[in-house]
Amino acid sequence: MIDTMLVMAAVAAACAVPGVFLVLRKMVLVGDAMSHVLLLGIVLAFFVVRDPASPALFFGAAIAGVVTVALVELLQRTRLLKEDAAIGLVFPALFSIGTLLASMYLRNTHLDVDRVLLGSAELAYLDRFTIAGRDLGPRGFAVPAFVFLATVILVAVAYKELKLVTFDPGLAAMLGFKPAFVHYALMLGVSLTTVAAFDAVGPVLVLAFFAVPPAAARLLTNRLSILLVLSVAIAVSAALAGTWLAFRLDITTAGTVCTVLGTFFALTVLLAPERGLIAELLRRRRLIRELHGTLLLVHLHRHEGTPAEAEESRRDGLEAHLNWSREQTDRVSRRAQAEGWIVALGDFWKLTEAGRDRAKAAGT
């Protein structure tokens, strides 16, 4: 289980970093397209090298991902179809070619289509990763861990450029930062990460690792640096929790980690301190409460010193003037009294100095 935890944590961390930029640049679905086309890249590279363990397969897949992005953009540039349609056109076509080639010519090889499509973290640690005869741990851990370190270093080095290109591509181009170059570098990074995550989680679930941790982190912060750190933290903790749960229940690890990721996101949507649903609900209630208090003060202020004052500020029957229910009127006046805006004077409410100021401020 520890081995699988390491694999999933490495995959999750590796995906979270480029995922932040995919989410910010609204390109998550481009990642979807890329991950499906990797199969074609793997198959084509396999035709060339004829060795299922060759690193050429890794790079073939990564290149296929970048070619997909280029194709999608080429189609978009004809202005005959929109981005979403271009994506929905390109990846099923390339995926189909990959499936056809695999099922026609690769029946008896180690390229198992089922495993390629769904991934299996349970098996990923069986392969050992060795360089010059030295065992560097399970392959499923070493490769994504390496990709994670590489992306972290890249992001650290090119932080300013990435930030500018992501948030203001126009300005970046004007300042000579070459948004297109940064864009394709990023796409290559996404592609490499997807390939690294492939063994463990497959092309569909990898999307959850790209999209969900940054989306959750995005609800918690507005700063890019914190966003990156939070995404990785959310991703890794979901990976650990999900793997543990999967082993407890004896079910698929990758699917369970995705389920946990989804749960984390749902909790964030509910509980995020400023942008969560509960925070929004409380804020709305507070606003309404403040509005009611102010309405009461304005009402009292308007009739202050007029002949109608005695009638309009009587504690009994005030609800008729405000057009509220009895309970609501009591609630609002009690709160206004507690705030020190009004005082009870015999049968009447009287504005305090503070209450009068508040009413005036609201009136102007």
């Binding site: 679905l29 005959l80 569909v204």
Partner: protein, 291 residues
Amino acid sequence: MIGLFDEPAVRTVALGTAAIGALAGFIGTFAVVRRQSLLGDAISHAALPGLALAFLLGARSPIVLIAGAAVAGWIAIALVAGLVRGRHASFDTALGGALAVFFGIGLALLTAIQKHIPDATRHGLDRYLFGQAAIMDETDVRVVAAVGLISLGIVLALWKPIQLLCFDPDFAAVQGWPIRRLDALLAALVVVATVTGLQAVGVVLMSSLLVAPAVAARQWLNRLGPMAALAAAFGGIAGFAGTIGSHLLSKDNRTVPTGPVIVLVATALVAISLARSLFARRVIAPAGATS
């Protein structure tokens, strides 16, 4: 090819995939013009947990399983719409995230099924993932045809507001049309079309059938109604020709899966249509003219 068509099994499958293609092409037109081409992709993946859950609860009949799939797919896109409306995520993030998370939940449920229910074979669920047109029978074809006719009826009955929703949702809202409900209805039609086709062409390839015929039709026509009709025709041609093609390509020692061939036929139709558009543009606006 004529000889092939005389084989009852091939004929049934070809008619079935043609019907699925026509249905997907027709409904997909509305998704494509509304820039929601990838809705089908998300729905077809998100349907998995519904399918698995229906199976876990004891359902074995295809209709109930399809209903489970439809419910899950619909919940997923309702969640996406909610997240976008509440500004909790952008459309692409919500769609991609929901797609993968639902799929992950589905896989987790699937493995649980295989552990705990002895009679569960992976067969039916594999069929969902990759599609298997070869085992369509006449009942399946009738179901697809019925779904198609009902969808057509709904779209025709609500033609005016649907047209408005496609091109100017704000104006439709001002006119007093309940656009949120219409939106949900169109989404539901996409859901039904998607899950109906799933078992024949599989998850990934179903998304293509929703997009490709519509994009191809868009290159020839500008009006929504004729476009939807042409897209249905393109989808039907892709389904029919793809099935026949995969049978022709299959030899004794290898079978060529039907789904991918259908997708490639549909993609070829798009390529021809795009080429025509590009050519027409060059004829109308020759070099040197401002485009």
